[in-house]
Assembly symmetry: C2
Homo-oligomer: 164 residues x 2
DNA sequence: GGATAGTTACTCGGATACCATGTGTCCGAGTCGTAACGG
DNA sequence: CCGTTACGACTCGGACACATGGTATCCGAGTAACTATCC
C-alpha cells in the first residue's frame, strides 16, 4: 500500500499558494519544488476539479486557493489527489465458496470490513484535524522568513534571472 | 492508494485457522473462500515468514496459528501481507529547487511528513486494537454455528464428496 | 489623447506512452503416512 | 506378530509471466495583456 507521490507535491503547492499574493503558474510551482512540470500539472488539475484551487486563465494567470488556508484540510488535498475510495475494499468472499454466508447474515457488514473502515476513519479524522494554514504556520515557526523568501522569488522573474 | 486484496484473504484465513483443530492446507483454505489457490499460497507464505502462522510439513500437513488468536492483531496480518513501510514517503522536496531548506531546518522532520505519520499511527493503533480472536467472536455472534460448519467441512474430504 | 482592433505570448486542460508493483501461475525440494517385506 | 524399509502422495517454498494503475509527457484550446492604429 503506497500513496501517490503527487500528494506530497500537492500539499507543498497548497502551502505555497496560501502565502502567495498573486496567481502562481504550474510551471513556477514545479520549478520551486524541483519536480516534473507536466506531472505536477496533472495533480494541480485534480485539485482544481475538487474545487480546492482554481485557475486564473490567460497571461499572468495561474492557480490560487479557492478558500482560506484555514478552511482547507490536509485530507481534502489527499482525497483530491489520491482518490476518494477507501484503501481496503471488501470483496465479500464470505459469500463465496462451499459455505457461503446466507442473506440475513449479510445484512450486517463483514466484521473485517468494519475494522478496516474504522481504522481508515481514524486516519481520515487525523488528517482532517490539520489545515493548510497550520502547515504554513509550522514552517514559519521552524524557519522564520521562509515565506518572505518564497514570495520574493515568486515576484521575481525566472530562476536564471538574478534576484536583485 | 489501494491495499492488496491479499490482506482480506489473509484475515479470513487467520480467522478460520483460529477455530481449526488440525493443520489446514493452503488449497483447502482457497477452496473454502473461493479464491485462487496459488495466489493465496503466496500470501500465506508471507504470514509464515512473519511468524504469525507456521507450516506443518508432509502429508496431512498444513498451516496453523503460531500464537493464540487473542495475541494476533489485525495489524500484524496487514503488516505481514502489505509490507511494513508507510504509505506516505517524504521525498524531502523542501531540500530541492532554488530555495532549498538549510541544514539546520532539516533537523526537524518536514511538517507534512509529521502530519501523515501521525495519521498513519492512528490507523495502525486502530488495527492493533482488534485481534483475530475478536473477529472470530464477531462472526459467531452474527451467525452462531458458523464455526461448527467450518470445522465440519474441514474435517470432511473434498468439496465434491458429499457431507453426511 | 483616447478608444479600438489585432497580435502575441502565456495559461490551463485533456489525451497519450512508459514502467513499477500487485496479481496470478508454475514447478521443484522436502516430509510424513502407508504398505509391503523380512525376521 | 513386530520392526524395518521403501514407496508414494501430499505439503510448502521460491522462481517465473501478465495486468492494472501510478508516473511522466505532449500538444491543442482559450484568455488576458500589450501594441499599434485610427478617430
Amino acid at each position: 500500500m503506497k500513496m501517490s507521490a503527487g500528494v506530497e507535491w500537492a500539499l507543498h503547492c497548497c502551502t505555497v499558494l496560501s502565502t502567495a499574493t498573486a496567481p502562481v503558474p504550474a510551471h513556477r510551482l514545479a520549478e520551486l519544488h524541483g519536480v516534473s512540470r507536466t506531472y505536477l500539472a496533472k495533480h494541480l488539475q485534480a485539485l482544481s476539479k475538487a474545487g480546492l484551487i482554481h485557475a486564473v486563465e490567460g497571461r499572468d494567470g495561474g492557480y490560487e486557493l479557492s478558500r482560506p488556508a484555514a478552511e482547507v484540510t490536509v485530507y481534502d488535498v489527499v482525497r483530491a489527489v489520491d482518490g476518494p475510495e477507501a484503501a481496503f475494499r471488501c470483496t465479500e468472499i464470505r459469500q463465496q465458496g462451499p459455505l457461503p454466508a446466507t442473506g440475513e447474515a449479510c445484512k450486517v457488514p463483514c466484521g473485517i470490513a468494519k475494522v478496516m473502515a474504522t481504522a481508515e476513519r481514524a486516519w481520515r479524522d487525523s488528517l482532517r484535524g490539520v489545515t493548510i494554514g497550520d502547515l504554513a504556520a509550522t514552517v514559519d515557526t521552524n524557519l522564520p522568513g521562509t515565506w518572505d523568501s518564497v514570495r520574493h522569488w515568486l515576484g521575481a522573474g525566472t530562476a536564471s534571472e538574478p534576484v536583485r
